[in-house]
Assembly symmetry: C2
Homo-oligomer: 330 residues x 2
């Protein structure tokens, strides 16, 4: 076990204490497992709440701040947060304008956010939910009915967050979020398995020299296993698989996302190949983001998410954002 | 070999093509291995140039932009850039106000930046150099006479970059850089070795369940090897070692820096322990940065850098910065 931890049982609480110390611009409730932007609730603004199992950082707590999420509810590692966290988050960020729950399509998350929406409704908080299910690799998986939610979560949270920040009403913010999800597709590749603190050994066996195509963010099995491929070959396979499903008619946002342990040097090199394939297919990359954003602990690998955008969505992408992991504009 | 590459020979050029595609705000010369802020040279502003072996990303190319570096010269993986790159970088960013070279203390870097300074001088460019040598782990190492340059490079580049952006003259920018280096100390711990593309296997042998204390950023041997320690124990050892050497009399900047493959969840948990030790020793953490900034490819591990600051240095830290890896303010 090569982990920088005390004991597996305190990993999430320890991390939240560390977030609190590094980010005074966030309110962190370690006991209740909540990360909330300090100025919440913002008068007249729709609240954006997301959450999910820990181990995918900076998703979601790293995306809390002006222009993106109002609050995040971290669960235990690879385990859904509970409805109580979600209801408290909704109450903490609701200004009366309502709250949007951004839910990745994993069974536990879906059920718990559904229950939380009902409980919030009983407390007089208007809640809408949007399901993120962008992963084209598999139809059903270990933790999901239907497609998994992966990299598109970043696009949904950024673009709907910008819409909320601009003062748009709940119905419009929810519509933006659903449109972003509908316009986004992802595909991921693992070069190594990840190791959870509780298990202490790799979640699946992937011999050196092999890779798993179509991996999920919890080490769920992918589509197929192959012998090692070059960056060029992986980009061809990945981008073509996404494009085949997405069929973009205009420009796209590109996320080249590291799974956690792949060096930035390699991610940027892979991005060069992704851009080559897009250019060969006549697809314009309007904006490109490269880095470790939707991770799977110490997994080596990469995922590509494309999001078809029109001028409205592109303007929402360019709008200012001030979070620990994504920051630009004023 | 678990790498997302084409062939080892093109890793750096491939990455630079990927940087160019993702960051239109930078000028990237792939053939000449240069990354320059797009608006350089900025009239009246001192230019800041750094560089070193690749494999430590986002250092240095990820720190190019307003408020930090004017240009970066990436060498091959773990190999110094050549004087020609450095002279070209100096020429590209010199507005007539002169150029500061920020040099990590590795023999190749030191010699090549020295030669580049002489060549630049012949071209009529005023150059000052500052040596970064913050690593308290070892006196001499595989690649160094004296202390190695590691995490403090980020502080030197940020604070001297802010001074340059404010219009300070070359002598003042160089003095700030030297003062930041003098006020900074680092110590790093490896939980696994890194793997270079050329070698394709770990650079040293570190069995699971052991860790190396006092590691460098190229897999240089450390002070000692021990059986696995908890996050709490590693923080005690690391912070006390740094404090013993630094003896800060006031507040400090804190960098909790991942070596590349340690999940953000663990880095934040470790930060909680770092903050605990600092509080126990009566040291005030004025600002804290947590993330993978000065890395060693896919090495698992962490380093801690502390920088003693007064009000001037703290204001330089808070000044706006707009680079791929560090962004805040306007």
């Amino acid at each position: 076990m090569r982990m920088l931890i005390n004991v597996p049982e305190t990993v999430v609480a320890d991390a939240l204490r560390g977030v609190a110390a590094a980010h005074p611009e966030l309110k962190v409730d370690v006991a209740r497992r909540l990360v909330v932007r300090r100025d919440a609730p913002v008068a007249g603004k729709v609240g954006l709440v997301s959450g999910g199992g820990s181990g995918h950082e900076p998703l979601h707590a790293g995306f809390v701040g002006p222009g993106m999420l109002s609050a995040a509810c971290p669960g235990e590692v690879f385990t859904s947060p509970v409805p109580d966290q979600m209801v408290r988050a909704a109450a903490a960020v609701d200004s009366g304008a309502g709250v949007l729950f951004v839910v990745k399509n994993y069974t536990g998350d879906v059920l718990n956010f559904e229950m939380a929406a009902e409980l919030a409704d009983e407390e007089g908080i208007r809640v809408e939910r949007v399901l993120v299910n962008d992963d084209v690799a598999v139809r059903d998986s270990l933790y999901t009915a239907g497609r998994r939610g992966t990299g598109a979560t970043l696009f949904v949270e950024k673009l709907a967050g910008a819409a909320a920040e601009s003062g748009a009403p709940l119905e419009h913010v929810a519509a933006v979020a659903r449109r972003v999800n509908d316009c986004s597709r992802s595909f991921g590749v693992a070069l190594s398995a990840c190791t959870t603190p509780a298990k202490g050994s790799p979640t699946f066996d992937l011999p050196p020299g092999e890779l798993e195509l179509g991996i999920g963010i919890h080490g769920e099995p992918g589509r197929e296993r192959r012998g090692m491929m070059t960056s060029r070959e992986i980009a061809d396979y990945t981008v073509d698989t996404v494009l085949e499903d997405l069929q973009p008619r205009g420009p796209v946002l590109v996320l080249v996302n590291g799974m956690g342990a792949t060096p930035l040097l390699e991610l940027y090199g892979f991005n060069a190949e992704v851009q080559r394939v897009l250019a060969e297919r006549g697809v314009v990359a309007a904006r490109t983001l490269v880095g470790n954003y939707v991770t799977s602990l110490d997994m080596a690998g990469v995922s590509v998410t494309l999001c078809s955008v029109d001028e409205e969505l592109l303007a929402l992408w360019d709008a200012p954002v001030q979070t620990p992991a994504l920051r630009w504009g004023r």
